[in-house]
């Protein structure tokens, strides 16, 4: 093939002029990529590989710039993603070229190039490229998709893979290999400079892609391996001879460099713990829930078995990196509390409007704090989300919480600090690992402290803080797709409401029914409300196995006959008014099915209360008459008839 001959010629005649040689390789690669069939492209890459292997000195000069050219062959038009890797006529040869670059390229330049490519690699871009390629694929491209590498063992095995996921996976693999091999080959007085660039690139890649990659375990494993296998580069042989620095200065520099590398690795380890699996909930939460409710934990799928094993490795690596998780977590809690420290006392906020304004401020405080912190952060610090995640992994490791009897106010501030910023950030910054870890600690507080302690702590906390917590839990739970997790969080909300002073709990419920943005969230709240009215002591059916404290729980006799929320005429009137508003909303032209469902749920709510003699039918006459304006289902009609009787 002429392109191959031209390439061989270029290596012969232009090897003394790397810029010219690189330009020639670039032009030829572009032409081959545009005009050739797949087996011709394969031949071109094999020729390039042979030339690179024959000319390590040239690779030393141009290797770093070849990375971008080689990446252009990893294009959806050149690769059939359902084909096994080894059968691909392109991939194995491109990877061998990268291998030569990793082994013979200038390690500093290759490392910097690989870091730049990794920082800019995004799932969105790969997805767009794959979609565009699918549209522009020619008949010849499709014919070529059936071709396997002539030297490969032919496999009929067809793999179902998402193109974007495949390409980001293969590119990630290549770039991580380039980074780790280059770092091993470095010889520098300033290794932290290069490690810093690598850590920054890896963090960018994780931030950009952590929630998009199909199997985040692959990402977690990659980052774990790079942390674990990192070894400080050797000092240049001629460091002492050629450097202007004295032996003592070099020793001091070396000590400083050691400290910096140490910090960077600790930082990356925590960042990986908190961010790599941000689209996955931690297993500690359902495991702990199963333990305290004496129910069976869900058997882990292979994905979760692998994930837990990887998280365990990362947890143990953090110990190897001397991260004192308990002390760091305690600091993280203290910092979380400091964010909310300046909020006014309950007594200083006298009216409902002021409470609402402050409630809004509580929502935004953590976000504002984190933006400011980022702007002022000069030192390499542990990632707080990672510290929270590691503190939670501790439960999977030792089957008991890292901190027992964590005060409920601590876990509330922790939750608010980590979860409320999600309302102000783009989707890819949301993090299920962190969110479920924060919920885990709410569970720990609720089950490891006595009821008296919890009630006392909650009554001392400003109601607008607890209400913001409950609202955040409810808002986040409205989008939860997993039934079991959704149920767990409703149980969590219910427990907290049970522990609040009755008026505060009622105030939150009314506020939710009045102004919560989603009608289905209001419906959920009605179910919880009904439970609080009908149940005497909901703690009995969820006894904490881990401590005997809850099992000994008794609420004083005088309260035994009382419900958690006791309806009086005034409260009934308030709720009826809200129910009528729901009917009006359901009658509006803009009404959705969820608005109609809410009316149905109000009907169910009142029916249940009537059944249990918690309500007199005459107290909801207005609601009943207003209901006639709406078209009800057969089931709801039956309920209405019961109400009328």
């Amino acid at each position: 093939m002429q392109f191959c001959e031209d390439l061989v010629d270029a290596f012969k005649t232009q090897k003394e002029d790397p810029v010219e040689l690189l330009t020639t390789i670039g032009i030829l690669s572009e032409q081959v990529n545009e005009n050739c069939r797949r087996l011709e492209k394969r031949q071109f890459i094999i020729t390039l590989l042979e030339e690179l292997e024959r000319n390590p000195v040239v690779v030393e000069k141009i290797g770093w710039d070849l990375c971008g050219e080689l990446m252009t062959f990893l294009d959806p038009r050149n690769i059939n993603v359902s084909q096994p890797l080894r059968s691909s006529p392109i991939i194995p040869h491109v990877m061998r070229c990268f291998n030569v670059v990793a082994l013979h390229g200038n390690p500093k330049q290759v490392l910097l190039t690989a870091c730049e490519l990794l920082s800019n690699l995004t799932f969105e871009e790969e997805d767009k490229a794959a979609r565009d390629a699918e549209k522009t694929k020619t008949e010849k491209d499709r014919e070529d998709d059936a071709i396997a590498d002539p030297n490969a063992d032919l496999s009929e095995h067809v793999l179902e893979r998402e193109p974007a996921d495949f390409f980001i996976g293969i590119k990630m693999h290549i770039l991580f290999e380039l980074i780790s091999t280059s770092m091993k080959r470095l010889s520098t007085l300033y290794p932290s400079k290069y490690l810093g660039v690598a850590v920054s690139a890896i963090e960018s890649f994780i931030t950009n892609n952590g929630s998009s990659i199909d199997d985040p375990n692959v990402l977690l494993r990659r980052v774990y391996n790079i942390c674990r296998s990192y070894e400080p580069p050797e000092l240049p042989e001629d460091a002492l001879k050629n450097s202007k620095l004295s032996k003592e200065e070099i020793e001091r520099l070396s000590e400083d460099e050691t400290i910096l590398q140490n910090k960077l690795l600790r930082r990356l380890c925590t960042f990986a713990a908190g961010e790599c699996t941000k689209d996955v909930n931690v297993r500690a939460e359902p495991e702990y829930f199963a333990a305290i409710t004496k129910t069976n934990s869900i058997e882990n799928s292979k994905f979760y078995t692998d994930l837990i094993a990887l998280q365990s490795r990362l947890f143990n690596l953090s110990l190897a990196f001397d991260i004192d998780i308990e002390s760091e977590f305690t600091n993280c809690i203290k910092e979380s509390k400091r964010i909310y420290h300046a909020l006014p006392k309950e007594s200083e906020v006298t009216n409902k409007e002021a409470k609402q304004v402050i409630g809004q401020a509580v929502f935004k405080l953590s976000y504002t704090y984190q933006v400011q912190k980022l702007a002022h952060e000069m030192d390499v610090q542990l990632d707080p989300a990672g510290v929270l995640a590691l503190a939670t992994f501790y439960y999977s490791e030792y089957k008991e919480p890292l901190i027992k009897e964590l005060p409920i106010e601590d876990s509330i501030f922790l939750y608010l600090r980590f979860v409320t910023p999600y309302f102000f950030v783009p989707k890819n910054l949301k993090n299920k690992t962190v969110e479920s870890s924060a919920r885990f600690w709410l569970w720990v507080s609720l089950t490891q402290n006595s009821i008296d302690t919890l009630r006392k702590q909650l009554s001392q906390l400003q109601s607008f803080i607890v209400h913001t917590l409950l609202k955040t839990l409810l808002l986040r739970n409205c989008n939860e797709g997993n039934d079991r997790l959704r149920m767990m969080t409703f149980t969590l909300i219910t427990r907290i409401l049970c522990l609040l002073p009755e008026e505060s709990a009622f105030e939150f419920i009314v506020d939710t029914l009045e102004s919560f943005p989603f009608p289905h969230g209001k419906s959920y709240m009605l179910v919880i409300f009904k439970d609080l009215i009908l149940n005497k002591c909901p703690f009995d059916h969820a006894v904490n196995e881990l401590t005997s404290k809850l099992s000994n729980l008794t609420i004083s006799n005088s309260k035994e006959s009382r419900s958690f929320i006791n309806l009086d005429n005034e409260k009934v009137l308030q709720v009826q008014k809200l129910a009528i508003t729901a009917i009006e909303n359901a009658n509006a032209t803009t009404a959705k099915q969820t608005d109609i469902n809410l009316v149905s749920n109000y009907l169910g709510f009142f029916s249940s209360l009537l059944e249990h003699n918690k309500l007199k039918v005459k107290s909801i006459e207005d609601f009943k008459s207003k209901l006639k304006s709406i078209k009800l289902s057969d089931g709801d009609m039956e309920k209405l008839q019961k109400l009328s009787k």
């Binding site: 674990r228 050691t258 590398q261 140490n262 094993a309 490795r313 143990n316 110990l319 190897a320 001397d322």
Partner: protein, 161 residues
């Protein structure tokens, strides 16, 4: 402050195994695991032990399951594995944690005396090694990658051979 000879971990049958008995001896301590990529190092550890035990070298293995869960078995399983696969004759003690809240005092002591790569005190993986001289001083710490036989010259030196 704890000294090396004050330490008394438990052996595989949970009996005290005081280090006082090693006064005047050179000791090589290794955290071992049966399912690790470095497990073949058992062969070299045993070779060192056989060659230098009568000259004053002691090799001690502490099984540990903290790294990739690669030592999940019981004391019997571990003993059987060591004997059947590598003919180990040096003492394999009770399974312990080398890092974290349950770290064994032996490792707390060793780590406090010698840091690893980049100044980290924590043990990074299976088959890290600590070399203690005949006066109980922790002389060196070697990462998993260091093959036991490569320590032979240092051991010979310490044994005055």
């Amino acid at each position: 402050m704890t000294e090396f000879y004050d330490l008394a971990p438990l052996d595989s049958k949970c009996n005290p195994f005081p280090f006082q008995q090693f006064k005047g001896k050179v000791v090589l301590i290794v955290n071992v695991a049966s399912r690790c990529g470095f497990t073949p190092q058992y062969a070299e550890l045993e070779a060192l032990y056989k060659k230098y035990n009568d000259k004053g070298l002691v090799v001690l293995g502490f099984p540990c399951n903290q790294f990739g869960g690669q030592e999940p078995g019981s004391a019997e399983d571990i003993a059987k594995f060591c004997s059947m696969n590598y003919g180990i004759t040096f003492p394999i003690l009770q399974k312990i944690d080398v890092n974290g809240r349950n770290e064994n005092p032996v490792y707390k002591f060793l780590k406090s005396r010698k840091a690893g790569l980049l100044g980290f005190r924590g043990i990074k993986w299976n088959f890290e090694k600590f070399l203690i001289d005949s006066e109980g001083t922790v002389l060196a710490r070697y990462p998993s990658l260091t093959k036991p036989m490569s320590i032979e010259p240092t051991i010979e030196n310490l044994l005055n051979l």
